[in-house]
Symmetry: C2
Subunit: 443 residues, 2 copies
Amino acid sequence: MSPLLTDLYQLAMMEAYLDRGQTGTAVFELFMRRLPERRGFLLAAGLEQALEYLENLRFSPEDVAWLASTRRFRPKLLEYLASFRFTGDVHAIPEGTVFFPDEPILRVTAPLPQAQLVESRLINIVHYQSMIASKAARIMLAAPGKMMVDFGFRRAHGAEAGLMAARASYVAGFAGTATVLAEQRFGIPIFGTMAHSFIQAHDDEAAAFEHFALSRPDNLTLLIDTYDTEAAARKVVALAPRVKADGITIRAVRIDSGDLIELSRRVRRILNDGGLSGIAIFASGGMDEDTIAAMMRAGAPIDGFGVGTSLTTSFDAPSLDCAYKLEEYGGLARRKRSAGKVTWPGRKQVWRVSGADGRFAGDLLSLEDDDREPGEPLIVPVMRDGRRLAAPPTLADIRARSANELERLPEPLRRLEPGASYPVRVGERVIKLAAEFDRRLGL
Amino acid sequence: MSPLLTDLYQLAMMEAYLDRGQTGTAVFELFMRRLPERRGFLLAAGLEQALEYLENLRFSPEDVAWLASTRRFRPKLLEYLASFRFTGDVHAIPEGTVFFPDEPILRVTAPLPQAQLVESRLINIVHYQSMIASKAARIMLAAPGKMMVDFGFRRAHGAEAGLMAARASYVAGFAGTATVLAEQRFGIPIFGTMAHSFIQAHDDEAAAFEHFALSRPDNLTLLIDTYDTEAAARKVVALAPRVKADGITIRAVRIDSGDLIELSRRVRRILNDGGLSGIAIFASGGMDEDTIAAMMRAGAPIDGFGVGTSLTTSFDAPSLDCAYKLEEYGGLARRKRSAGKVTWPGRKQVWRVSGADGRFAGDLLSLEDDDREPGEPLIVPVMRDGRRLAAPPTLADIRARSANELERLPEPLRRLEPGASYPVRVGERVIKLAAEFDRRLGL
């Protein structure tokens, strides 16, 4: 990825920092200012890609030459960029961890120009995956035990969004994705059926089913809503014994439109009456956690869901109020005081206390060097001097963590309308440090 | 970009098509089924990237080896992919053209397996840029004559979204972007000021301003809302004559938080009273077309806007109901009849009629081989046998087209709450073809 995928002002500020030798250690923390309206919690994801970005961040000779050609920068900055390496430390909340507003999920401790440069892309990476993992977690909670598959590449916002949505939803518990590259790149299981165009390309729907069954007999799923869903279900009943003779089993049917509660019942009946109670019903088409929950409440006989656009765009909350703010420079705590955007200064730690039932009971935002507080500390070192401290956790590990975290959510936060907020207390020393800072600035 | 950025079912269907020799010419059209609630029109963008994708689509030996290693596919498909080239034709509405639901903006005419494979990524490319261009057009219409800059890379959904949002908003009339790569890649003007962290990294705000002015004197813009906006404006007044002695002119101040209507008035007064009526006021921070329109109605003295998240995520409508559907195969028209998703069959043309005032008056959806209808035909050939018919238009040309199109929009559609819909009539032969298709299928 090009290092020029950043905001112009980062390079401008770097130049000014270098002019004055402002290369001391800066501490930036990445956190969310508030939750979107219908979110009770967020799920961290994207740390792995953030660390990869920091490890590999280089300006090629061509990049530097191009920057020089714009006549916007002086040799000092260009030379600095030509030999740029990220040499800082990173602390973070592990991927798959539940988190709340004001809690830093990533901290960069690095020479000021380095820590400044990486802001734009770090937010770009961590914001998207955390937003999608959080949305996917809601979808998981809407239909416990059902199989969820990401179908949303096409309407995701570009290539990287499509790919990373597959990863983030897998982190949150999805069974897999339709996006082929996600298996090659991350080993995420991929799933696929057939499109309406396949049916349409045949003059006869039954012939299309048979053709597909013979060509693609593994994990065979037939799409039955191109013309008349119930008629198509009867064609499946007629086809099943014929292909069985060839050793082929129809695993599932997919319904992609119409009243899915009613249609799934009718299709279930047609299949059962035809002796095909083993065929699963898979639903897709404009699903989100609300429509899925409604289907579950109605007892619709649906075994799995393909969730597309609502997942990969986080449709009801397509951004989080994510910020990356300077908390310390030159050994002094810093904070921003802009209206509605006040931040807590200093290097922070988050302590999470659980109740007797193992559920999360409340968090405390403390300073990193505070005494040990009750509960578990969430922020751990992951990179030192630009190098990772350990091999990245596997996606299986991250999924296991995420499943455990979702189990331990307080009951109100597991609802689609949370209606309750999770207590995050700001520690006394953090408050004191903020007051000291304000006094120092005469505010 | 990896060719595996597609849905598994595309490869599955390709295998089935190849098994039966279903390699005849297929015609797919990409269109929007309906408008999002608060959109009166859409603006086409992304064709250039779509054509690049088709031209460069190849499976490397490693891709083919990986696909083989999954044991999901047989040699026939793998061999086909190993030598894959897109050899089809493309017709499209030029970028920067206003369009409406049911109007094809891109048509692929190619052997069925090819036309099928490219569905996922073509939608992924054209959907996003058209959505962002449409959002950006609304922002332009909210404040005619004001300078708009894309500030939204960080919360765009990943790398490609951030970059392409810069392109799509520039197509729609934005002055430029903060994203550096957009200038390198597309020649889009870039803009940048300073972040709050720059101010915070200094012990004194006035010293930070002076330092930045001396280091980065060109197009100098100072961010004044880190602590106290009015106090900072007075510091700018104090600084201006000092840096003027060094030949440095402060061009603008940026306010990023607070009540921007009130603050911009107070800051304007402070600057004017200080003899700095030439300094522009630039506003940013959570803007969208509604807040911008409200500032314009209130007569806020703001000269330009940095628009971020609402633009690059198309926050109020983060997806369009975009489809790519088979309209013809084997010389026969095709359509989909799924509930709520019925499509019009055949190769289509869109004719746009303008009124005496030059404004768009109504469109007609005809078949491509219909006689010439009144108005201008919108769909033109852009690629034949996998090769472009002409060099791509420049971004300047596309911007000029877009500006002209927005000028010619009927008045109600220029409002943020359109409250009126644009007439798109479906031609008689299209309706007849649909009826014939239904009869043929016995529907």
